[in-house]
Symmetry: D2
Subunit: 201 residues, 4 copies
């Protein structure tokens, strides 16, 4: 019985590295993987999925109006054993419904890697639909500087302060993101603390 | 480090039994438990939390306008070691924020048991906020008749057919609910199948 | 694909209650459960499985020389959908191999509930074979008095001190058992501390 | 509260890649990692830990007579935030006890990556002690060719048949290892099937 997986993690939890290792493992076992990512994520050029540790692979870009079920039925069904999705938080709810339909009708497992929530602790559209429909919800863990588990993706402005207002996605901005636990996040806002970054954006 | 837990499960997955056993275990270890449930759930009378297997306990009812953080600070802080919430899907997002604040400021763990999604596969308000803020998201599993894991809470009308339209919560209606896997749920709708119930409502 | 599960927990983690709730859930879904326990456990009379919270059910006793695979093939195959084992730590390695064979050949899931280790932190015979062969290893959690997760089953003599020498299983003795974290267990031994019990034995 | 982790997986489940990514994540957060492996594993030269996907790092070799607790106390305590162990199945039970002592006394988390069982489905010495003492036991999953989860590490001779007799560890031999589910493993033995390898050894 194939399943729909949501493997969520905060910023810097090595989600893309996990996606790429999973792809490697399937392929090493002689299976064929369809690696996709939404067009909203243009961090690494048109079609490269890259992790900070140095791994990378070519991915197919899914545009907002692409019907993934149709695309899969026409081009991949029969010669694709598993679908891996990176940055799945930027998929639309309809995309997730289409992936769900592939799992049901083709018995192909779909593994979605992505963020849970935005800088205001709200689910992204793709994450929300996955939280509703996934058969398996699994956390990829990372840590807050305080040692607790990080669950929040804080947006940090160029002066080092936590941002609490603004658009969910800002392309080409100067803000950084950092994973924090909820307690440090709230303290950081209430006490207007300067947050130490570690280089990642 | 205390944590906020969301232990979600479909209809009939024994969530209330799990809540009551957890309460029993804490109390057996000499700890004090505050058991609460939202007023929207009036299934078992004003303030009794009851599981089908026969376990029960008195719970405090939380009304929509109750500030749980304030209520806890004034009455329970200092002599309560853990909070257990049943039917947490009916808590408001504000309630979940208040529970989150108790975890952060009092270092008291909060364990929330409830449904993930409604009969249209949409998150309930309380479930959505928990999916955003919980430190630990854990599934209480149950099975579809086909043997696969059940993830959907289907609403079944008095003739035995899956309902796809209507209000999220219907009090005093004649509909039943049953846990199904997504595939059987979709098949049941598309083929207008009569669904076999097992007695639970 | 049926699976062999090892659901282990320390003393007082409500393993028997979990076994009984699981049985209830399967039966509520119209499935037939074979509930068994090894004869080494005579805590509750010949054939009753009882949990401290008040749940109970009749179980079939498996003696050391019973071949569970043969017993299942002759009497249960065809009208049994799942096997639930309580106190599985007292099963022999051969018993676990027989259960594994049932999973493989009859596609019937087997859920084993029991202790991980004895009072000297050594695996029990049944637990060891399950740690080797189980498809899913899952912890039923409980807490040490210090708030950390309990992983050790300490044997406490009638004066309240931790026992470190003796037979793995003592029937009819005056010792009690309590779940502790490893740190408190080691401290308790090294500092010869008197351990507070909570009533369970 | 620091913890002792056992992250076990079958052959080819990318355990070393996971160990290296975990190391990378800690270091990216400004923390210092002590990476160690037992001398029994000489697969990649004296002191390099290498994963098939291309990641690698220098590791310190732990010899059978090294006291890891003493070594840590003298050289690393105070400037090491986490210990990562690869090929932990080859550690001795005493090594695991020493790691457990570091967790308890220094509050430093220890993450052990390794195999669960040998080619005869028996726990390795290090794996057994970890199954007894770990605070968290987590599986790194991989798949059998049949699509089920692989849990067995089958030893395959140069003709492609499953080996069932011999020493637990053979250095410099011509045998290969492959991860299989228990059912395919047993079928492979009973039907003397030729097993298809995928290149890994």
């Amino acid at each position: 019985m194939a399943k729909l997986y949501f493997k969520y993690g905060a910023m810097g939890s090595s989600k893309s590295a996990q996606a790429l290792i999973t792809k490697y493992n399937y392929e090493e076992n002689g299976m064929s993987v369809w690696l996709i990512k939404p067009s909203a994520d243009t961090r690494d050029g048109a079609d490269i999925l890259r992790s900070r540790i140095g791994l990378w692979a070519k991915a197919e870009i899914i545009r907002p109006d692409t019907d993934i079920f149709q695309r899969f039925s026409q081009s991949c069904a029969g010669n694709c054993h598993v679908i891996i999705v990176d940055e799945c938080q930027f998929m639309s709810p309809e995309h997730i419904d289409q992936l769900r339909k592939i799992v049901n009708e083709y018995e192909v497992p779909v593994l979605c890697f992505g963020l849970r929530t935005d800088f205001q602790t709200k689910l992204f559209p793709g994450s929300m639909r996955l939280m509703e429909l996934a058969d398996v919800i699994e956390e990829i863990k990372t840590m807050c500087d305080c040692g607790a588990k990080a669950t929040i993706n804080a947006r940090i402005d160029s002066d080092g302060y936590i941002v609490t207002q603004g658009a969910q996605v800002v392309l080409g901005g100067n803000d950084s993101y950092i994973a924090m636990c909820h307690k440090c996040y709230i303290n950081g806002i209430e006490e207007h603390k300067k947050i130490k970054l570690h280089g990642q954006k």
